[in-house]
């Protein structure tokens, strides 16, 4: 079942650290968001494979925007 990793806050995507097909483990950094003047990492919530990356650096995202999906 696909798992969605969402933006915890509205902000700007600074870096995407994974690509489709990458294997990730729980607590791996997957995206770096700039919000409230700080660059903050978004982490994988479990082990799996990246199914789809839905954002790219420079994108402005709202809170709860899906950043990527994993399976």
């Amino acid at each position: 079942m696909a798992e969605e990793i969402k933006a915890p806050l509205a902000g700007k995507v600074i870096n995407v650290l994974v690509e489709t097909g990458d294997t990730v483990e729980e607590d791996d950094e997957v995206v770096i968001l700039e919000a409230m003047k700080m660059e903050t990492s978004v982490y994988a919530s479990g082990n799996g494979t990246v199914k789809e990356v839905k954002v790219k650096p420079g994108d402005e995202v709202e809170e709860d925007t899906v950043l990527l999906t994993m399976e």
Binding site: P8, L9, L17, E25, D27, D28, E29, I32, E34, A35, M36, K37, M38, E39, T40, S41, E63
Partner: protein, 577 residues
């Protein structure tokens, strides 16, 4: 109580290769910044006459003396580049730090006899006050290596007199003695006037056979008949008188050992003085560390080198404080206090060399949804909110009750602002934390990991907590200022921008001033600036941080002024419920 301390919770996890690879550039930048700071310290260390020149006179340098005096591997220097008077030709001409001497911790200070035979210089009294304050706060002996030619006469007006002049240091020695804190002094060379009082004001005097101490030196004794002017004839008289007195300066061992008995001991060789002080340390009050240990000492489970990957030099990047802590404390173990509230702040119990400490730190990054509870905006780590302030107040108070010294880690942008925050009483809660700290009367130390900013720098155990903060360390990533330079430029110049625009004036000159202010903030918040001006007591390599925590641990538990029996501690029971 061993069940609490031998079974603490694990902290942190090993770094993955891909993380290390991604953070390699950061690690390199931090190491480069540390290298530049080390070079600045080395310049200070080598200042003055070459060591060979001092040795050719039959004397050791201060650094050679310290090497004999202190236990190998225990020297934790402080104030190496401290230069509050901005002296061009030297720093404060004293060397100081924490060190173990024959197994006992002490605050150690000595005059740098490579420069003007260890003269008093501008800024030096402030350095000495920091050192006497440190001995007072840690309740451990102060050990002097005296070799002091007295006032650097052409600059006497900058430090001789006044409430915080060089003479005040003798009163500080007396204050330590009143508190039962001994001041030992090894005495070398010629110590006239101020140098004489530097020598006599300590508790026990260990003299080298060639040293002398006196109210006035040869220079004064030979020239104390002022005529209102100098001429060739009087100059020749001076030369003759000086030759007589310099041949045998006043106050040698034949007087101050054989007659007055001021020198408790006299030794033939320089090394013997230091070895005698080492022996004497065992006569001074100190607990065996086992008396206070709650567990066997053990190193952290993860290497200190990881810190270079974990602490971002980029001030905008966040990180996980618990991963930093896991590289510093025994066994990478802790007991967290209030883990489910006050999320922007870490509070917990940790062990250093088997000794128990309270630890408080800023967390970074996103905070849980709905936090802070009083606002409709999200919270972010580094800032302080209502629940975090209450949590720190409670933890600090309980540490005071349990007599647990506190280690603070700062990386803070300040306390939340705006009317919503004011309604949430943050101003009052900040001052409450100051009151809480003040009433604990336990020693504290601070590591400013990165930012020390706004009132948060005051209330989170910063050096402004004079009576409690023993010392403050910075890192190569430290920056300290009231606010970020850009914020300061906005606060300073926005009204002028509005006026300029209303008057139809070009904005260029105001914009230029704004950029100049930003640049000034940058320059005056850098690690070396912080160390030079005393905003921190030393900038420390990340891999050396644990060594300083160990020095603090050994010092505060060596002879604490008050004790809470381990079986009467309340904090571990509150945490474990």
């Amino acid at each position: 109580m061993h069940k609490y301390f031998k079974q603490m919770d694990s902290l942190g996890k090993g770094l993955k290769d891909k993380f290390k690879k991604r953070s390699q550039e950061n690690a390199g930048q931090l190491e480069q910044a540390e290298q530049e700071i080390r070079e600045a310290r080395e310049t200070v260390k080598n200042f003055g006459l070459p060591g060979e020149k001092i040795n050719s006179r039959g004397q050791l340098t201060i650094w050679q003396r310290l090497e004999i005096l202190i236990d190998e591997g225990t020297w934790r220097p402080l104030h190496m580049v401290y230069n509050p008077a901005d002296n061009e030709d030297c720093t404060t001409n004293v060397v100081d730090g924490l060190a173990r001497i024959n197994g006992r911790w002490a605050v150690v200070i000595g005059f740098d006899n490579k420069y003007l035979a260890g003269a008093w210089v501008p800024g030096q009294p402030e350095n000495i006050f920091r050192v006497t304050d440190l001995a007072k706060r840690l309740n451990i002996p102060l050990v002097w290596v005296v070799n002091c030619s007295g006032v650097k006469l052409p600059e006497q007006e900058k430090f001789y007199a006044g409430r915080r002049g060089s003479g005040t240091t003798f009163f500080r020695h007396a204050e330590l003695e009143q508190m039962g804190i001994p001041v030992l002094a090894g005495i070398y060379g010629t110590n006239p006037a101020g140098g004489g009082y530097q020598s006599i004001s300590p508790t026990v005097l260990f003299a080298h056979k060639n040293c002398n101490i006196a109210v006035g030196g040869a220079g004064i004794v030979s020239g104390m008949s002022p005529r209102g002017y100098f001429d060739t004839e009087s100059a020749k008289e001076l030369i003759e008188a000086a030759r007589r007195h310099q041949a045998q300066p006043p106050g040698g061992v034949e007087i101050h050992h054989d007659e007055t008995g001021f020198f408790r001991f006299v030794f033939e060789k320089e090394e013997d003085v230091l070895n005698a002080m080492r022996d004497y340390m065992t006569k001074l009050p100190a607990y065996d560390p086992e008396f206070f240990r709650v567990d066997a000492p053990k190193p952290p489970a993860y290497p200190a080198e990881d810190l270079y990957h974990l602490l971002p030099l980029n001030q905008k990047r966040t990180y996980q404080f618990e991963e930093i802590l896991a590289r510093l404390v025994d066994g990478s173990e802790h007991m967290e206090f209030w883990p489910d509230d006050g999320f922007e702040v870490y509070t917990g119990l940790v062990k250093i060399d088997g000794l128990l400490f309270g630890c408080i730190a800023n967390r970074q990054g996103f905070l849980p949804e709905g936090y802070p509870e009083y606002a409709d905006y999200p919270g972010i780590g580094g800032k302080l909110y209502r629940r975090g302030l209450i949590k720190m107040n409670e933890f600090v108070t309980l540490c005071g009750r349990d007599r647990l010294p506190i280690i603070w880690f700062q990386d803070t942008t300040g306390i939340d602002v705006g009317n919503t925050a004011e309604k949430a009483e943050l101003l009052g809660l900040g001052q409450s934390l100051i009151y809480s700290i003040q009433q604990t009367d336990v020693p504290m130390m601070l590591v400013t990991l990165r930012k020390g900013s706004a009132a948060a720098h005051y209330i989170m155990g910063g050096p402004t907590a004079n009576r409690h903060n023993a010392f403050t360390l910075g890192t190569a990533a430290t920056e300290i200022y009231v606010m970020h330079g850009e914020t300061a430029a906005v606060a300073t110049y926005t009204r002028r921008l509005i006026k300029d625009e209303q008057a139809g004036k070009p904005l260029d000159s105001t914009v230029e001033k704004m950029n100049q202010l930003v640049e000034k903030y940058h320059e005056t918040s850098r690690p070396l600036f912080c160390a030079k001006t005393g905003l921190v007591d030393e900038i420390v390599d990340l891999k050396e941080l644990r060594g300083y925590l160990q020095a603090f641990a050994g010092s505060v538990y060596q002879n604490p002024a008050s004790i809470c029996p381990a079986h009467q501690l309340i904090l571990p029971r509150i945490i474990r419920k």
